[in-house]
Amino acid sequence: MNIIFLICPVILLCSSICITLLIRNQQIIFYYNYIITLLIFIIYCWMFVTLDTALYEIQYQIKIENFPKIFGDFILCIDGLSSFFLLLTAFLFPICLLYNYNKISNNNQYSIALLLVELFLIICFTASNFFIFYIAFEMILFPMFFIIGFWGSRGRRIHAVYLFFFYTMLGSFVLLFCLFIIYQIYGTLEFSHFFNKNNLSHFEQQILAILIFIGFSIKIPMYPLHLWLPEAHVEAPTVGSVILAGILLKLGGYGMLRVLLPVCNEVIESLKGLFMGIALISIILGSIAAIRQIDLKKMIAYSSVVHMNVGILGLFAAHNTGIIAFIFLMISHGLIASGLFFGVGMLYDRLHTKNILYLGGLGRLMPKFSVLYFLLVLANMSIPGTSNFVGEICVFFSLINEKVWLLSILAIIATFGTTLFCVIIIIKTIYSYLFKSLSPVYDLNDYELFILSVLVLLILFLGIYPNIILEPLTLYGHFYYQL
């Protein structure tokens, strides 16, 4: 079992990378890679079903020999928390490959970069050790540099690459310093040891907490270190921004759950105000900034800032439902934001613009697209019945339970901003007058229809029956709450 769930995906991905390097024929490569990524998805589904939901400890683990043992052994493991993120990763990549099929920009190097991202993400989420997590976290920069730099659309992509690269490097160097401190305290970097008590003084723990928070908040992203996100999203190709919004932003949240909460649990109570205040500022600023944008991708990028920060409010509410809601929001945001970016990408392939001033009346020309996109935007608005609604409601419940009245009222008002720009997106693209130049546009292909409908169906399913994820998560909520 350990070998199937932990080693098999890595070996399968390596095999498909090798085949992509060796064979020139694009058809064969596409089918091979697509089947491999689907296989990995099936493997992780199987893993998800066989997980014991009554345990929060490591369930599958394997030790890999012949690796440098600098900060501990190289151990890969799966527990309840990482299983969700692995499932999300494995779910999104076959869709990305399918979207890229038959595109002009698609070539072998592009597929290699995508497969490398998946490989590093799997290592990142299965790491049992903070050091391996950190290495995989930085390794993702390498293929992402190629994806944004080479297959991005416009000239400004270089600026975006710079911002993406150096914000992330800054965060990872701060984390490196924290890593040294943690290694000095515990003598090990295994995540499971972080729950033990440490002998730092109160002040030292506060500084450590702030440093870790800075390191991970760049990835989430939070004000004032969020500027790389809209740039990178706008300049990246569709698949690149799907991966960014879908999974890479979740690395920050995952890291906070793994490191920040266990190590600094004694001082979280005193720093809660600061962290939640920053999250609130980024919600308000994000929704205001999103309203003013004319680029569709930038709007969605700011909306993802808003949603991730709503989740952060739940995380630091330190209530049992808050933490559950944070994880649930991350997963639902991964689905919704990637669906929205796919939609924008499909529009861009047809019209070669993302500017909402040049769009309008697409409901008459592209009925299938309009229905699905309308549903996705509604989900982004967190209408009841979609998955985002469940997460946000849980966050606000936990905030009110904690009796932080002012903050919860402000947060609820600020999330109305998201409703505003979602309405703007719908009006400007699907309704309104039809431009004459748009008339030769054709509707979705079969496989594009498949991509969007799968995402929409999943979002609706999670909205109607959220217990499939919430039930295994309750254990985690209790566990972190008891800290």
Partner: protein
Amino acid sequence: MANTNTNIIYTTNIAENNIGLLFISILPVYFFLFLVFFLTSQRSKLLNVEYIKFNNIEFTRTKLISLIFVLFNIGYIFIEFFKLFPEFRLFTNGVGIQFNGKILVFELIAIGLFISLCYLTIQYRTVLKKEHILLFYFFIFAALNILLQTNLMGIFLLIEMFSLAGYIIVAGIGNKIAVEGGLKYALMGMFSSAILIIALVFILLNFGTLNLIDISILERYNYLDTTNSNLFITFCCIFLLVSFFFKLAIVPFHQWAIDVYRSASNISFIWLVSSSKLIIFFVFLIIIENLFRQTSENLKFIFIFAGLLSLFIGTFGGLIQTNFKGLFAYSSIVTVGFIIINFVFYFENPEKAVTLSFMYLMLYLLNILSFFFFLSKVEQKSLIFGDLRYINNIVKSDKIVGFGLIITFFSFLGLPPLVGFLPKILIFYNLYQANYLITCALFIILSLISAFYYFKIIKRISLFQETEITYDSTFNILNVRKMNISEKIIAFFIIFLNIFLIIKYQDLYQQIELLLK
């Protein structure tokens, strides 16, 4: 710490080591025979014919290939000799020779470096004159013999010979600017040698001998008056350090390096930046192993000061360079900063300090050689070519060259799957562990800034966009030669090494730690 291995083999009886004497004496004889052969064989009465005969690519290539074979042979002799005599000393009273496992490692690394440098010189297809190749012979001869010396006077003389060849190599190959650079190099090098002489005089005053073995024995059995001589040895060591800082271009003694490197021609730049750093670092290791036992720990602050300053100046100086030789001058200052900071651990844990700095220098040299290997495929306009604009958008011309350059620069930058990452991390961690918190934080921040200019080159290689201001037709017609199969194999090997050395890093580290004992 002092009395770990008291029973050293101290051989004064030459009769026992006759075969060893024979083997060691082969080395100069080899060189001598080769020189005679070289000078006498190719004489021609007609001057014009001689000019054609001696100044073409074929001539350079054959001579350098023969030099490569000589180097292989010398390496083989060293290994065979080590099997016979693992610990060997000769004429230890005067200017003597010693040979053991540690020196074997140093010699083999130096030989490997020289072989790859000869290969690169062939790759660059520059036409070298007869005299230039002779200079390379001198350079290699001096470099391989410095490491065998036991006497500080012998080390001093051979360093002079080594750097004399270096000055003329810089001045001789290239145009008038190179001559100016060579003159600067000669002046500053002689100044640093003068400081070394002062240090030697003080050492002679204190110990009464210049023999390193005698000095270590005197220190080991405490023949010296400790309280007084401790201070005096520290005083000597400061002079010694200043001289070596000059030669390694560590801040605040770095000013000559940038001018010299920038004005040097390509070939001489490659020879200088790699081999002089390596050889002088090895000599430094050999000397301080015997001298630093009783010095005061106040020397730590010199290392911290020098390391931090060189990192600072290396990072901020490199940001505005448009010439890659100037850029690598600053980058080598950063490297030297990373190397010299490790010697703060030398007083508690010498093995760790030596191993860390050794690894860092090795991997830096690997990267710099691979950079010049890939650059040799770009068609050059002149010998002094060094403008970064020549490598604009090289990925579009040739994918292997471009990707190899990108990998090399990511490795310089220190991104995880590549080898440049772990030595940096280990240095940071050891600094943190030894409670140099602020130094560690400053190192991390400055290495982030130095990442910026490596990233600028990566951008230039892969994503450069021409505008009307930057457009220049001379740089735009880029000619990249196609690779042979053998060159392709070497390129893939370099990329492979860059990615997969990190997996075997632990073994490598332990092996080197073992070898350096």
